[in-house]
Symmetry: D2
Subunit: 411 residues, 4 copies
C-alpha cells in the first residue's frame, strides 16, 4: 500500500505525508481522536470560523517542520533522514495528550495530570506499539538529543508549533492581524553552535511574529467572550463532578462517567492503563452532549449553568489593571445569592475573579537569537533597533471579574 499521501490544507495548499511511520501514526486512534477536538475550544462563539481541530494543527506544524528542514539543508547543514523523521514525529505528536476543551478539563474532572504528562504516556505507548521507532522522536521532544536545534523547532519561542497555530488561528478566525510571514522567518533560519538562530535580515519578521502573537492573545485567545465561555464550562464541569461525588448519577458517555465519578492521580494514570484508555476516548462530543442533557437536570445550579452556555448567556466580564476590591466582589455575591436563590457554596459558580496574563517574548525562556551580519549572536531584544521588544517582553497581567448576566441585567 502506498502511504505517500497528500492532504489538502486551506492554509498551506497541500501537506505531504513522507514516510510510512508518519502515515501509520496519523491513522492511529490516538491521533484520529484529535479530529474531534477543536483547537480553540469555545472561541468559535466569538469567531464562528474557529472550528478547526488539533488534528489539522498537528499536520500543519509537521508541514512547517518540513520547510524548516529543507531550508537548513539548503544552507548546507547536514540533517539525516532519521533526524528528519524524528523531528516530524515529535512535532506531530507534541499535543497528542490534549483532551477536549483542554484547559477547562485539566482544571476540573481530569485534574490529577497535565496534558503534557499524558502526551508523554501516549508517546511511550506508541513507541512500544511501533517497535521503538519513536526513540529518536522522543529524544528530540525531551531535548536529550545531541542536536538541540531540532528540539527548538519543536518547542521554543519560534517553533513550528507557534508558527502554525498563529497562521491557522488567523486563517480560521479571519483575524488578519495575526498573519505572520512564516515563510520569510523559515527562510531566515540557520544553525549556529548547534542551536537555532535567525539571520539578521529576518529581525523585522520576528518582531512582527511577536507582535502578531501578542495581538492574537488579546484579540482571540483571551477575548472576553472566550474567557467567559471557558469559565462557564469549567464551572459546569466542577459542579457536575461535585454532584457526582455526592452520588448524583448524571448522564454521560462511559468514558466521561469514568472521570466524573473518580478522583484519579497522576500515579493512578501511570499505573492503571484503564484511565488512559478512557481518556483517549474523550473528545468534544462527550462533553457537549452531556452539557446539552444536563440542562434538564433537577439540580438547579447545574441546569442553570448549562442553560447559560447553550443560550450563549455568558458571564458579564469586567477587566481591570488593578485587582477588584473585596467589597465589590462580596456585594455582587450577595446580590447573586438573593437574586438567584442559591446556596452559599454555589455562589462561586456565579460570581468570581481571576487574572489573565500574557507576555509575547520571554528573554529567559529559550531566547530568540539573531545571527548578525558580522557573525556574532545577539538576543532579539538587542538586535532590533530602537526596539519595541522591550514592550513585548513585559508581562501583561489583567484582572477579570465575572458575574452571571442576570446580575448585570438587574442593574
Amino acid at each position: 500500500m502506498n502511504k505517500k499521501k497528500i492532504i489538502n490544507d486551506p492554509v498551506y495548499g497541500f501537506i505531504t505525508i513522507q514516510s510510512d511511520l508518519i502515515y501509520d501514526l496519523i491513522a492511529h486512534p490516538y491521533f484520529q481522536r484529535l479530529r474531534n477536538i477543536k483547537q480553540l475550544g469555545m472561541t468559535h462563539l466569538v469567531y464562528p470560523g474557529a472550528v478547526h481541530t488539533r488534528f489539522h494543527h498537528a499536520l500543519g506544524a509537521m508541514h512547517l517542520m518540513n520547510l524548516a528542514i529543507e531550508t537548513l539543508r539548503w544552507k548546507g547543514h547536514h540533517i539525516t533522514e532519521e533526524e528528519e523523521e524524528g523531528a516530524k514525529v515529535a512535532i506531530l505528536l507534541h499535543d497528542i495528550g490534549h483532551g477536549p476543551y483542554s484547559h477547562a478539563l485539566e482544571n476540573t474532572i481530569v485534574n490529577g495530570i497535565s496534558h503534557e504528562n499524558i502526551s508523554m504516556l501516549m508517546m511511550n505507548n506508541l513507541n512500544k506499539e511501533f517497535d521503538h521507532k519513536l526513540d529518536l522522536a522522543i529524544q528530540i521532544f525531551q531535548n536529550t538529543y545531541s542536536k538541540p536545534f531540532l528540539h527548538q523547532l519543536v518547542s521554543g519561542q519560534l517553533d513550528t508549533d507557534r508558527m502554525d497555530y498563529l497562521n491557522r488561528d488567523s486563517f480560521f478566525t479571519g483575524v488578519s492581524e495575526g498573519i505572520i510571514g512564516f515563510d520569510r522567518i523559515i527562510k531566515m533560519l540557520n544553525i549556529y553552535g548547534g542551536s537555532l538562530v535567525v539571520e539578521e535580515k529576518g529581525v523585522y519578521s520576528v518582531e512582527k511574529f511577536l507582535v502578531a502573537r501578542r495581538i492574537m492573545y488579546w484579540q482571540v485567545y483571551l477575548h472576553k467572550t472566550s474567557v467567559s465561555a471557558e469559565h462557564l464550562l469549567v464551572n459546569i464541569l466542577r459542579k457536575a463532578k461535585s454532584l457526582s461525588n455526592e452520588g448524583h448519577d448524571l448522564f454521560a458517555t462511559p468514558s466521561l462517567h469514568h472521570f466524573l465519578t473518580q478522583t484519579i492521580t497522576k500515579k493512578d494514570f501511570e499505573e492503571n492503563p484503564l484511565h488512559l484508555h478512557h481518556f483517549s476516548n474523550l473528545d468534544d462530543h462527550d462533553i457537549y452532549s452531556a452539557v446539552k442533557v444536563w440542562v434538564t437536570e433537577k439540580d438547579s445550579v447545574l441546569s442553570q449553568l448549562c442553560n447559560n452556555l447553550l443560550t450563549r448567556s455568558l458571564y458579564h466580564v469586567e477587566i481591570s489593571h488593578v485587582p477588584f476590591s473585596n467589597e465589590r466582589v462580596e456585594r455582587l455575591k450577595q446580590e447573586a445569592s438573593a437574586l438567584l436563590n442559591i446556596e452559599n457554596q454555589d455562589i462561586k459558580y456565579f460570581v468570581f475573579t481571576d487574572t489573565i496574563t500574557n507576555h509575547a517574548y520571554k528573554a529567559s525562556d529559550g531566547s530568540i537569537n539573531i545571527l548578525m551580519k558580522d557573525g556574532t549572536i545577539n538576543d532579539i531584544t538587542a538586535a532590533a533597533d530602537n526596539s519595541i521588544l522591550e514592550g513585548l517582553s513585559k508581562t501583561v497581567k489583567k484582572h477579570i471579574l465575572c458575574y452571571t448576566k442576570e446580575l448585570n441585567n438587574a442593574k
Copy 2:
C-alpha cells in the same frame, strides 16, 4: 442594547447584522443549534479543514444577500427596507431545519419528514414567537411575494445560498477549483420583468460558477471517501434503529433516544410539538457520541460498523458508468457472509450498490437568464458562445459499489 453587530468571517472579512429582528433570530436556540452541525458532515475525513458549520454558511449567505440588494439598488431598482429584511431573514433561515449529518439522518432515524418541511415548521414557530414579523420573509421563501427576484436570490440556480456554499466550501476544504467570482456575478445582477437576470458581460463568470459547482460535486461533495463515510453512518443509524425496534436499549442522549425508539410521521411532527422539540435538540454531538459508545455494544454488527467509522476503515468504493452486475454483487455478498460470519439480513450493511448523480445546470429548474446588450433575454445556454453549457446541463450519473474493506484486503 445595541444589536448592530459585526461578525468576523474569514471568507468575507466581516458580516454585519443590520436589524434587531435579525439579531434576535440569530440568538434563538433554533439558529444557535446550527453552530454544532457541520456543513459538510463527514467530508472532513477527506478535507480536514471542512469542519465549518451551517451556522456560518447561513450568515455568509445573508451577507451575499446584502451585497446583491446593494447592487440592485445602485442600478436604480426600488427595494424597501422591509423587503430587504424579509429577503435576509428568508436566506438566514433557509436551512434551519437541517439535522446533524442531515442526509444520513433523513434516510434513517428521522425519516418521516424532510428537512425542508422541518424548516417550514420552525419558521412558522418563529413567526408566532416574533409576532408575525416573519410574514414577508415566509412569503419570499415560499415564492408567493409579488417580487419574484427576491425569492430567486434565496433559491434559484444562482442564489446566495449556492454562491456562499461554493465560496465557503472551497475556502475550508482548500479546493481552489471551487472559487467563484461571486463579487463579479453579484455586480452583474439586474432585474428584468420582475425576475433576476445577469448582464451579458457576466456570462463567463456564470459559466465559471457552473463549472466550479460541478467540480465541487465530484471533487468534494461526491468524493468517494465522503460518500463511503456517509453510507457507513447511514448503515450505523439504520442498524441502531432496527435494534432499538427489537427492544435493545442503546446508549443515546434523550433526544436521539426519542427518534431511535419511535417511528414518527410527518403528520405526527405537525401535530405533536414534542417531536420538533427533540429534533431541535439534535446536533452532531448526539450522533457521534452515541457512535463512539456503540462500538462496545454487544451486537456485533453495530459494533463492527461503528468501529469501522471511528478507525476510518470505510467501505471500499468502486465507481462505474454502467450498473454493476448482479452476479458480482451476489458473489461479494456471499464472500462477506462467509468472511464476517454475519446473518443474511445484515449483509446489506457490508455490501451494497447505489448511484450518485449531478447536473451543474438544469434548464428547466428556474433558468439563469442573461440580459443581452441589445435588451433581449436569453437562457445562459443560448447566450454563451460555442457553449460548454451543453455539457454542463447534462446529468452525470454514476453507479457505485461499496463493500467492507476486509473484503478488499482478503482479495
Copy 3:
C-alpha cells in the same frame, strides 16, 4: 559570492534561485530587460493591476518547474541535476525574445522576424557567452532531448508557462475566475513512456484549468478594450514607420529609430548583430515615450492616433459571430473620411475589421494525456465523463469591427 537567493513573489511567496548559472542568467541584460516589458501590454487600461512584467512571469514559471520536478522525483522518477537545471533554464528563457508590446511590435516595425526566432538567437548568444552551459537547456527547449516530458513542462498544453501566466494574470488583474489549482495539477503529474501525463484524479483540475484559460481569454486577453488599445498602438507604429520611410524624422530613442527607419529581414537579423543589439535595448519606455512626443507631430494622422491612445479614446469595437458586411464597413469609412478630413490611404487607421479566435484545448497540439487508474492512457477529452471538453476543444472565432470613437459620437 553567494548566488543562492530568494526572491519575493506575491503569487507564490518566495522563488528560490538554485544555481550560479541561473543567477547569472537572471543578471544578464537580456533578462533584466524583461523588467521593463509588461506581460499584458495595454491590458492595464482595463485592469489597472495588470502592470506585472515578463521578468516576473519567467521567474514564476521557473518556480513551477521546480515544483513539478520535485513531484516527479517524489514519485520515483530519476531526473539528474543537470536535467533539472536545463529545464529551469529553458523555461526561464522561453520568452526572452519578446519585445515591448510584443504582438503590436511584431506586426509593425519589427516585422521580419518572430519573437520565437529572436528567443533562439538570444539563447545561442547566451550559450556562447556561458561556455556551452546552455546546451542541454536548448535541447530541451527544442525538444531534441531524450526525455520529452522535460520539453512538455516547458511547452505543452499543460506547461509551467501556461500555469504561471494564468496564476499571475489572475492575481494581478483581480479576475478570480482565472485561478487554477496549479498545485493540485502539479501534484497529479506523472511520467508514462517518457511523456508527461496527469493521474486520473486530477481530471477535474485539468478541466478547470482549461475553463479558466478560456475565461481569461475572453475576459482579459481578448477583452474589447485591450484589443482596441492594441490595434490603436499597431496603427500608430505602422503610421510612424510609414512616415519614417517617407523621410519624416520622428522623435525616437536610437534603438527605436533603428527599426523605424529600416526594413530588416530575418536573414539580416541573423547576420548582422547590430539588429539584435538594438532590439535588446527596446522596452516599453522606448515605445511609450515616443508616442507621448508624437502627439505633437505635425502629421495629423499620427498625432490624432497618439492623442487617442493617451486620452484612452480608443476605437469603438463591435463583436459579431458573422462577418460584418462590406457595405457597412464602406459606409463607415466614408463617414470617417468626411468627418475627419483624412486621405484615402489613412482611413484604414480609423475604420477596419479583424477576427479574434481562441480554443481552450487542441486535441492535435500535444494532447493532455490522462493516466487512468487501470494503467491505461486516455486523451483528456475521453477521460472526463460527460465532457464539457467537447465544447472546450472547439475553436471560437469572432469578428470585430473597429472605428474611431468620433464616428460613434457623431451617430
Copy 4:
C-alpha cells in the same frame, strides 16, 4: 452615457465609481498620467511585483474612503452626499502632483517646487475646468472645512491614504508582514467632537497598523537596495542637469528637456502655465528612456552612472547607528578617485553619506485618539496597555554610507 463604473482591483475586488464628477476626474489627463508612474519607484528592483502605479493607489484610497463613510453613517453620523463626494475627490487627487520617481525628481531637475505644491496647482486648475465643483474637496484637502474628520480621513496618521498604501504595497511586494486589518480599523472608526476616533476595541488593530507600517519602512521603503537605486537615479539626474547647464545637449523627450535645461522656481511654476504643462507630461517613460540612451553619452561619469543603474550594479550600502567617520569617507573618496579616474567634483556621485529616518507614530502630528468604553478619549499611547507604542513613537535614524560597487570589489 452611464458613468457608474466598476473597476477590478486585486486588492479589494472591485472599486465603484459613484459619481459623474469622479468619472470625469479619473478620465482627465492629469489623473491618467498616474498610470505611468510607479508607486514605489525603483523598489521593483528588490520586489519584482512592486510595479503598481499611483493611479491604482489613488483609486484604492477612494474605495477605503467609501467604506469609512459607510461605517460612520451606519453609526448614525450625518454626512451629506456633497461631503461624501468632496472627501472622495480630495483623496483621489491627494497625490496628483507626484512626478515620476518622485523623490528623486524633486531633489534634482524639478527642484524649485514640491509635489504638494504641484498637487495644489493641479487641483485649482481642475476646479476651474469643472466649474468650481471641487470647492468642497479643496476645503477638505486643506482642512478648512467645518468637519475636520473628513480631512483626517484624507490626511492623518490613520488616513485612507496610508491604509491603502500599506495594503497595496504589501500585496504587490508579497511582504505579508505589511498586511493590516484595514477592514477592522475602518469598522472601529467613529467621530467624537467632530474629530476622528477609534473605538477602544480597535486598539490592537491600530497597534498592528503602526507596527506594519514600521516594518514596511525598513523592509521595503528604506530597503538598502531601493535606497541605493534611488540615490543612483538622483545622481544621474543631477549630473545630467549639470551637463545640460554646461551646454551638453542630452537626449530627452521635450518635456524632460524643458526641466533639464532650465532652473524653474516655485514662482515661475505659479506664473507660467508652460511649466505645469511640461510637468504634466512627465512620467516614468521619460526618465527611464533617457537613462537608457545616456549610457552611450560621451561624458564618462554620466554614462558610467547610467550603466550602473541599467545593469543593477548599485552602490554598496553600509548602515550604522552612528555617523561614519570623516576619515573613512575621505579614504573611500580617494580610492574612488584613483580607481575610476574621475575629477574631484564628480567623486560625490560615487561616494557619499546620507541618513534615513522613520517613526511609526508621532504623538504631535495629529494624534490617533481612542474612544474608551467609558466615553473618554485617550491618545493611543495611553490607551494601549503595557504599550509597545513607546517604542513605536521614537524616531529611528540610521546613517548610510554609499560607494560604487567597483570600490567594494576592489577590496
